[in-house]
């Protein structure tokens, strides 16, 4: 029973982090049609912002708040310098953001060195969950993720900004003809997606080792999650993350980590073969 609870909690933990990354990716793609290959590097930047704050003597919590803000601002700059020039050129967005990811990785390597760093776990204790002892910090991450997703849903479904954003996602040209400032919306949305990645990176940092290559390990499953879930709605990436996160984690725990990646990819291929538009978009289309 205890083992079972821990397995479920671990899988939820991974899934919720994946949701943060995938949601940022999906919002940017859905709104701007930009495939952001640098999303993993934004996540990595978030972790390094937290590391820097700690090295300067700040607390972990200050770093956790600073990370999304700083990475969001970096997102604003990136949008202005790179992304806005490649809108409507779909393939170029992949090349441009991939180049960007190389630049960010090299910049971090130059400044912090290629070696890995670690961040101390701030909440060291454990909490009893259904009879099992579970690290408090992992529970905290889950809470952060749930709150962030809830805030995003509220933003998109409960505000005028969200209505405008959903209008642009549904029909960009028509939304622009109605007077919606697509330029400003693109800028803020990219920054929001970037801030999300920064938050995920910072929140994850005590659990993993920080190195300039860490982004890729999150980007690939997040892409799979977006593909599987579909881009039809904000729930798509959430469901996709659940599918990828649960499959990966449960296979690794119950069977072997070696097989986990393989099972995830096979699952992704099967799902995409059966539901080319993703699980959620498909369902939405039928109703």
């Amino acid at each position: 029973m205890q083992e079972f609870v821990i397995t479920i909690l671990d899988a939820s933990n991974y899934t919720l982090i994946l949701v943060l990354v995938a949601l940022g990716l999906a919002i940017i793609f859905g709104l701007m049609n930009v495939i952001n290959m640098a999303h993993g590097e934004l996540l990595m930047l978030g972790a390094y912002v937290l590391l820097t704050v700690q090295q300067l003597g700040g607390s972990f919590w200050l770093g956790l708040i600073a990370a999304p803000i700083v990475v969001g601002l970096v997102g604003l700059v990136i949008e202005e310098l790179v992304i806005r020039w490649v809108y409507r050129r779909f393939l170029d967005t992949i090349l441009a953001t991939w180049g960007l990811s190389l630049v960010i990785k090299q910049a971090i390597t130059l400044y912090f060195g290629p070696a890995s760093h670690s961040v101390d776990v701030p909440l060291a204790g454990t909490v009893e969950v259904l009879g099992a002892q579970y690290p408090a910090y992992r529970l905290f991450i889950m809470a952060v993720s749930i709150v962030a997703v809830a805030v995003t849903l509220r933003l998109f479904f409960g505000t005028r900004f969200g209505l405008a954003a959903r209008g642009v996602i549904a029909n960009r040209d028509m939304a622009a003809c109605l007077g919606i400032n697509t330029r400003r919306l693109d800028r803020y949305t990219f920054a929001y997606g970037a801030a999300f990645a920064g938050l995920a990176g910072a929140a994850m940092s005590p659990l993993i080792s920080l190195d300039p290559q860490m982004g890729l390990g999150f980007l690939v499953p997040a892409f799979l999650a977006v593909l599987i879930g579909g881009l039809g709605s904000l729930m798509g990436p959430v469901v996709g993350s659940l599918a990828v996160g649960a499959t990966d984690n449960l296979t690794a725990t119950l069977y072997s980590p070696v097989w986990a990646q393989l099972v995830v990819f096979v699952m992704a291929i099967v799902v995409i073969r059966l539901f080319p538009r993703g699980l959620i978009a498909r369902r939405g289309r039928e109703t």
Binding site: L163, G167, D173, A175, A176, L178, G179, R183
Partner: protein, 239 residues
């Protein structure tokens, strides 16, 4: 406003030798056209003449290659669609392009994210008020067209660009929409540039008609002249 500020012709919308197209193809090849404040101008032409392209270019959706567009005397050539809309130009595209997954209310809200109440829209289209929480995709074709026009009204436009509002609708509904558009033109004082194949609708609404042919305006007649001599119309459209 002094006459000079409104341009030489005193028109609200002035299009001067406008050239535009997609890719390498040229669709508009030197279109010149004026629409006065409160004037309703019908834009006629065969399929492929460039009527839709002209409206899309005016909105800023298609890039201008050459020529000039002035609105209220200000040069708006090359402005982004949201800037054009912000100056008081509203667009009802062909095929309506309503947001099918959104409610009627949300469609209207998108027409103006400010605090505009729905009163003007519901005044002209009372049928929409009772369906305000319904998904726009579930409305009938006629209601969707009403919604597209109502959404355009949300911005309190001074110029309405309408692209085939009668397309795919039953004659009785076309008559209804014609009446509503007449009322809108009268009560709001908005000018209308109307692309339409339905001659009855054009003649009922328009003060003047411009004939677009192979990317140019070939002629312009007052609606009175066309009503008196319908053969002008038939000759043109039978070409």
């Amino acid at each position: 406003m002094p006459p000079s500020a409104r341009g030489i012709w005193g028109a609200m919308l002035e299009v001067e030798t406008l050239t535009a197209g997609y890719g390498r193809g040229v669709v508009l090849d030197g279109v010149s056209l004026t629409v006065g404040a409160g004037e309703v101008v019908g834009l006629l032409g065969l399929n492929g003449a460039g009527k839709t392209t002209l409206l899309r270019t005016l909105m800023g959706l298609v890039q201008t290659r050459a020529g000039r567009v002035r609105f209220d005397g200000d040069d708006i050539t090359g402005c982004a669609p949201f800037e054009v809309a912000g100056r008081g130009v509203a667009y009802v595209p062909q095929g309506r392009e309503i947001f099918g997954d959104f409610t009627v209310e949300d469609n209207l809200r998108l027409g103006n994210l400010g605090e505009t109440p729905f009163d003007l829209a519901f005044h002209h289209f009372p049928a929409l008020e009772s369906r305000r929480r319904q998904r726009a995709g579930e409305l009938s074709g006629g209601q969707q067209q009403q919604l597209a026009i109502a959404r355009a009204l949300m911005n309190r436009p001074r110029l309405l660009l309408l692209d085939e509002p009668s397309e795919g609708l039953q004659p009785s509904i076309v008559g209804e929409i014609t009446e509503t558009l007449t009322a809108i033109a009268e009560t709001t004082g908005a000018a209308i540039l109307l692309v339409e194949q339905n001659i009855d609708m054009v003649l009922a609404l328009a003060d003047a008609c411009a004939f677009l042919e192979t990317g140019r305006i070939e002629a312009r007649h007052s609606a009175d002249a066309l009503r008196a001599q319908p053969e002008i119309l038939h000759d043109f459209l039978a070409l």
